[in-house]
């Protein structure tokens, strides 16, 4: 189904900005917690897991909304390479938003760690307890996080480019 107006639906805009804050916070928490051994390490780790689970639930909702409501069309005069880059980066963002929580969850499962969310609430393992699998997933979690951060930077740069340089409707479509 295609979008009717020039803007994303209200539900899509709300989910987008909630997730934007959560994902950026998540990336900073993640890179910060692995580089400190001060007491905030524990606080950050304790936030990282339930926040990751919440992001995973939201991205499922978000994909559903996207498939249901669609997206406003890109401006017709947008150079083709920019339209292609926009589509590729959005695919990449969706892919990474799904991959990061799943890789984190399976990495903890493969490491034999309990995936504690809150109090006695925990997630079941989704991967076998296996050292070599843990090593691959652990490393993937870091590299995919860096890739996600870079993709978000490009996304922000592109959004500002539409708002400040092209002055078209693309930035407004999400605000």
């Amino acid at each position: 189904m295609s979008s009717t107006g020039k803007r994303f639906s209200a539900a899509q805009r709300i989910v987008h900005w909630f997730m934007a804050v959560m994902i950026v916070a998540m990336l900073f928490i993640g890179i910060g917690m692995v580089s400190t051994l001060k007491p905030q390490y524990w606080t950050l780790v304790s936030i990282h897991k339930p926040l990751g689970a919440a992001i995973f639930l939201l991205v499922i909702l978000r994909l559903g909304l996207r498939l249901w409501k669609g997206a406003p069309p890109l401006p017709l005069d947008l150079p083709r390479w920019q339209a292609a880059a926009a589509r590729a980066s959005h695919l990449m963002l969706y892919g990474l938003m799904f991959a990061m929580p799943l890789v984190g969850w399976s990495m903890l499962s493969a490491g034999g760690y309990p995936v504690v969310l809150w109090g006695p609430m925990r997630l079941p393992p989704i991967a076998p307890h296996n050292d070599q699998l843990h090593a691959v997933l652990r490393s993937a979690h870091t590299w995919l996080a860096l890739l996600l951060f870079a993709t978000i930077l490009m996304h922000v740069a592109a959004a500002l480019f539409h708002a400040l340089a092209r002055k078209d409707d693309v930035f407004e479509s999400m605000t």
Binding site: S35, G111, D131, A165
Partner: protein, 363 residues
């Protein structure tokens, strides 16, 4: 119109320079903030990576192994809770009953091939599982106090123990300088010099050293430490006797004893009195503090680590069930963060520590 070619390339009418400058500043600021958070701009920040690097420079080849307490043996058994712990903590494994345990005994050195006489520090780690899936992991040492109270001091001690790559020995002056600069460590070193040697893991009492908090059903939080008190009577031997028993002395002793029957420890919670230090594990609490008998650890069998069930567990002291929480002891977060780095490394190096048979399936 200096911007004209760029504007044409980007498909924008009019100058594009000011917009690109703003975008560049936003991206550069975000990247800088991220790099700072990651510690990339502050190489002097003490990170778990630096601690683990230093731990791996104390001799031997720890690749594929835990970077500290590298030489160990797995065990399995169960924890039989008395039920008394439920009065002070909602931890599910304090409800009277039996809970499976995977554990590990080790000696406190970084060389997986070290002699068992290399250090008086012996450790026990346990992973106790409750029926609801909650876990309690704990790593305990046989010393009455820990050697340092802060991550910074631990790092300094580790550096002082590192081997100089040129001479293959630790810097002779470094340890002296560490001891002189860390009077808090004196109690540990005096224990290390005077504690009687024994030929067994079984006759040692293992202490949590760090304080934790037990939280009861009413939400009341109490500072505690705990101790796995050996039931097996201690049998002192000379250091020379231990050396003469060869590199497998402690593992052989364990197998020998287990062939004759299970080994037991009494797990006691030690309750802090008001004013007892919780953030300094170099300070012992008075022996008169009241204790709660949580239960008995029964060790039934031991397994070589290479194929053993403890091999691929990280005995992270912050893997805690509900009813047990960290205290304000700064070592707890530092241990948890550093154990994770050590675990990440050894799982990535698993090929360098091969299993000798097919891995047991766990879970």
């Amino acid at each position: 119109m200096a911007n004209a070619p760029l504007s044409r390339l980007l498909g924008v009418q009019g100058p594009v320079g000011p917009a690109l400058l703003t975008i560049g500043l936003v991206v550069a600021s975000a990247t800088t903030l991220f790099a700072f958070t990651a510690g990339w701009l502050t190489p002097t920040r003490l990170t778990p990576t630096r601690v683990v690097d230093a731990l791996g420079r104390r001799g031997g080849d720890p690749i594929g192994h835990r970077r500290n307490h590298s030489k160990g043996v797995c065990f399995t058994g169960y924890f039989e809770a008395t039920g008394a712990g439920s009065a002070i903590s909602t931890a599910p494994m304090f409800v009277a009953g039996r809970y499976p345990v995977v554990g590990r005994f080790a000696i406190g050195v970084g060389d997986p091939a070290a002699s068992d006489a290399a250090t008086p520090v012996r450790s026990m780690a346990v992973r106790i599982t409750a029926p609801d899936g909650q876990e309690w992991r704990s790593g305990m040492n046989n010393s009455p106090v820990f050697v340092v109270s802060t991550p910074e001091a631990f790092y300094a001690l580790t550096l002082a123990s590192d081997l100089d790559p040129k001479t293959g020995k630790p810097d002779a002056g470094a340890m002296g300088a560490f001891i002189a600069g860390h009077p808090e460590s004196a109690a540990f070193f005096s224990w290390a010099k005077s504690a009687p040697w024994t030929g067994s893991f079984a006759d040692k009492t293992y202490n949590s050293l760090n304080a934790f908090r037990f939280i009861d059903r009413q939400g009341v939080s109490r500072a505690v430490r705990w101790a796995m008190e050996a039931v097996t009577p201690a049998a002192s031997i000379s250091l020379d006797t231990l050396k003469a028993r060869g590199p497998g002395a402690l593992a052989n002793d364990l197998q020998h004893r287990l062939a004759a029957g299970a080994l037991r420890w009494r797990l006691n919670a030690i309750l802090a009195a008001p004013g007892d230090p919780t953030a300094n594990s170099t300070l012992a609490w008075p022996a008169s503090r009241s204790k709660v008998a949580l239960g008995t650890l029964v060790v039934q069998s031991a397994q070589a680590e290479a194929n053993g069930p403890c091999r691929d567990y990280n005995f992270d002291p912050l893997i805690l069930p509900t009813g047990i929480a960290p205290s304000d002891d700064p070592l707890l977060a530092a241990r948890s963060a550093s154990y994770a780095v050590s675990f990440d490394r050894r799982t990535a190096e698993a090929a360098r520590y091969p299993r000798t048979t097919a891995p047991e399936s766990s879970r």
